[in-house]
Amino acid sequence: MLRWIVWRDLMLAWRRRADMLSTVFFFVIVVSLFPFGIGPETELLRKIAPGVVWVAALLASMLSLSRMFANDYQDGTLEQLLLTPQPLYLVVLGKTLAHWIIAEVPLVLIAPLVGAQFDLSNETLALLFVSLLVGTPVLSLIGSVGAALTLGLRGGGVLISILVLPLYIPALIFGAGAVEASIMGLSPAPHLYLLGAFAIVSAIFSPWAAAAGLRISLE
């Protein structure tokens, strides 16, 4: 059942590739603005790189969050999903997984490339990749709660950011912290473990909260 939901959402995303690409372009452009703005001060660039890339990833995922349930809501397929004989928890988990693959994985893959503008070592770039890989599921999971709660509201996009961005802060601290630690020659492992733990906790609670949010939004 889960695989049908994921497959369905991936197919829909493929038919609307432009939406997916706009998120990636946004991420690339925001990250690239900093080296242009700051100039060739490699020391400073290296220092801010982890934070900049992570913040850009958070903002880029904001762009796609409002679409997570909104399209299905408008054409009535969300109602039908709520009426399928399977736990709504699984439906939401499937849609969140699809969102991660569609909106976050491209960012994770391209991050080492855009990170290269900040004069980072190969090792640091690899760690940037790993920290985003571990941390981005958190963005989709917590984001799903915000998307479910703001469904059908006018100006929902802004409201999602206000609701969700503060909840992203732990992921930002540990994700960027892991990369910073490696730049300073320390072990990034503690940060990554905490980030992983945060991802697991949100995987358990977010779908449940988002399911409750959807039920309320569709009443």
Binding site: M1, W4, I5, R8, M11, L12, R15, R16, Q74, D75, G76, T77, E79, Q80, L81, L82, L83, T84, P85, Q86, P87, L218, E219
Partner: protein, 196 residues
């Protein structure tokens, strides 16, 4: 209750297998709300809905194996073709439909030759037919159909009528909110008129 307004109260009825309940009433009298309460999307402010003696709230997902709800929003994805729409919506309900079967069903719904077009290229009535094709595949007992006749031509209305007739003959129950006469025998039909 919708907002502060009480739509209906003291509504008490039981429906036995093989019955069609035709819901009528002016716009805004609560036909859609009643259907959404019956399928469990909306919680009633007071009272309860029972299915085979058990409250549908306690039945949870199990109840949904017996119900098909078609709302006035089609539930048809614009980006997907008719075949894909039909196969995916059924797969999510636990029914695997082969491509050949999906094509056969859509042909029966009068969509021959248009099965592979993205649904956004179809007309309103054709999209409605794609949504209705689900009724041919599902094996649920309770059908809740909300204004499904709108934008259908005469042929399609006759098709829906025969679908409902078949369903009732097989011991199914159908709730239909519509102002059109379905023309089914009075012995099978119960009318429920809501007032504002």
């Amino acid at each position: 209750m919708r907002g502060d307004r009480r739509l209906f109260s003291e509504l008490d009825f039981a429906v036995s297998p093989g019955t069609l309940v035709q819901l009528t009433g002016p716009n805004g009298s609560g036909k859609t709300s009643l259907l959404r309460i019956l399928c469990g999307l909306l919680a009633p402010a007071e009272g309860e809905v029972k299915w085979q003696g058990a409250n549908i709230r306690s039945l949870g997902e199990e109840y949904f194996t017996s119900v098909t709800y078609l709302g006035h929003r089609h539930g048809v994805k614009d980006e997907l073709s008719a075949v894909e729409n039909l196969r995916i919506s059924n797969a999510l309900n636990g029914i695997e439909v082969s491509k050949q079967r999906a094509r056969a069903v859509l042909e029966q719904m009068g969509l021959a030759g248009r099965e592979l077009l993205p649904a956004r290229l179809l007309s309103e009535g054709q999209r409605r037919r794609v949504a209705l094709a689900r009724l041919l595949v599902c094996d649920t007992t309770l059908w809740l159909l909300d204004e499904v006749m709108t934008s259908l031509d005469k042929g399609a209305v006759a098709l829906v009528r025969s679908l409902i007739e078949n369903h009732l003959a097989n011991g199914g129950i159908a709730f239909v909110a519509t102002h059109q006469e379905l023309g089914l025998p009075d012995t099978l039909t119960r009318r429920l008129e809501l007032t504002t």
